[in-house]
Amino acid sequence: MSFQSALFLGVFLPAVLALYWLGPRRAGWQNGTLLVASWAFVWTWGPRLFPFLLLATLVNYGAGLALGALRTEDGPEGAKPNGGGSRWLLAAAVAYDLGQLALFKYLGFFASTVSTVGGVLALPLSIAAPSWALPLGISFWTLQQVGYLLDVHHGRVPACRSLLSFATFSSFFPQMQAGPVARTDLIPQFVEARRPSLDDLRTGAFRFFRGYVGRFLIAAVLGEKLVDPVFSRAGELSATAHWLAVLGYAGQVFCDFAGYTEMAIGVALLFGIRLHENFEYPFLAGNLMEFWKRWHMTLTNWLFDYIYSPLMTGSSWLRGRLDLGLFITFLASGLWHGAAWTFVLWGGLQGAGLVVQRHFDEAYRGLCRKDRTWVARRKTRGYQIAAWAVTQAFFVVSLVPFRAASFREAAAFTSGLLGRGAVAMPRMGNTDLLNLLFCVSLLAGYYALRGRRLAVPAVARGVIYGLLVVYMAIFMPLAKGTFIYAQF
């Protein structure tokens, strides 16, 4: 079951909402309803994987309680982790979570890499790659659980004492599939009883609809009509086709993931739960760091809070080695996105881009210290447009290995960007072309009207939404396609 399925929209969501809000207004009832619903939701992805979720929830709940209990009495800096015992327990619990992720997601990648290396070096290193199904959302779930364990260990939050609240927080179905990455500051929302709010219901429904349009109209059309046909013939078509395709892919990934996020936030709001925002107009960013502050914000924050900051400020030899820290953090991001070397390359590119930007800023600051006119130049429209163009071009081109199935395809596509192919564009019907123009206009309108409240009468708004629904019903059949980020 997924957000777009008729079963979810027609039966599951209305039934769970009715039980949730019409039953006793107590946290126990609400969490119980959500937990059973979430487990049912996960069950539809594959019953074989369900025991892993149950066991891991119990392990992390127990580990959290033990880590909380192992903290010593308050001192001048508050309670401290109780030395070795607490660290060993933390290491064991985190290893359990990461081990589960490694088993499902990275074992096949490791086996195929070893076999490839063995082939190249003519060594008998062949390992049979297991073909287990990757549980949906396991990458997001693992980040959530590891973050919880670290926060409890360091005393940033108390351990969650209620198993029901913890299990509901851990399995909350709107964000199980592809985030936003849940942080421990959400737990209090699962401890208190929630009250229905008309504003939440209205906003939740609207955000779900907006996300639905993003994913199942714009992303679907861009993917099917522009991106997939060019990537499937990488290197054969003209440079224009390749540039349009990679630009289209940037739009597709954004609409797919931001669309999913909007739907998740919207569904959560229907239950009175506020998830973290995940996107803030990333295509307006004027430098790469700003881009990562605006794109998949919950992942970026997680990486900086749990990998970059501890590595850079600890007492190890890595302390203060900012470039290396950035590179490691974004390599981890690439590997988190997918168990393939193309994702590692993509992560490495982001890390390298941030290192280059950091050194450029250092050099520019040097100029400013000598001559203040460089400060004024930085504020000119020309500088800002150039900075924006370089940032966005870098991100768009870096998506080539992210989208390509292999290095070979990435290389072929890159050569296509440089204009090696002969055929102008893939064949496209008038309807497809109109659909594409319509979708690009919607995306451009979304950016152009950001943050503005338009005084559109309710009737006119209803007509516009109705027409969009009719359009989607005709062109976008239900249950078509999967979310890109759900595969991670």
């Binding site: 900086f304 900051s309 850079m312 400020t313 600051r365 930085r378």
Partner: protein, 89 residues
């Protein structure tokens, strides 16, 4: 200038030099203004600020407090450091 005043000047000078290109006095409109929400400091800057404070005031910022929220405004930074640093008399 008292210790808090000295600390404030140090942070403003550091922000000016590292991030704000001399506009710190204009951009930091109040002592409680969020640095992260208002683009004064990003995650990279947060780490560099922590390193600078640890080195300059010879304090060790505990893992428990190593969150961006704890260093998100002038008041928060000054209060945190002032409670732990030994200022030269």
């Amino acid at each position: 200038m008292d210790d808090r005043g000295t600390l404030r000047k140090l942070i403003v000078d550091w922000l000016d030099d590292r991030y704000l290109f001399g506009d710190a006095a204009i951009l930091i409109k109040s002592e409680d203004m969020s640095f992260l929400e208002n683009g004064i400091l990003d995650s990279l800057g947060f780490v560099q600020l922590v390193l600078m404070l640890e080195d300059r005031y010879r304090i060790k910022i505990d893992r428990k407090h190593l969150t961006r929220a704890n260093f998100d405004s002038m008041n928060k930074i000054i209060s945190y450091v002032a409670a732990r640093a030994v200022f030269p008399s």
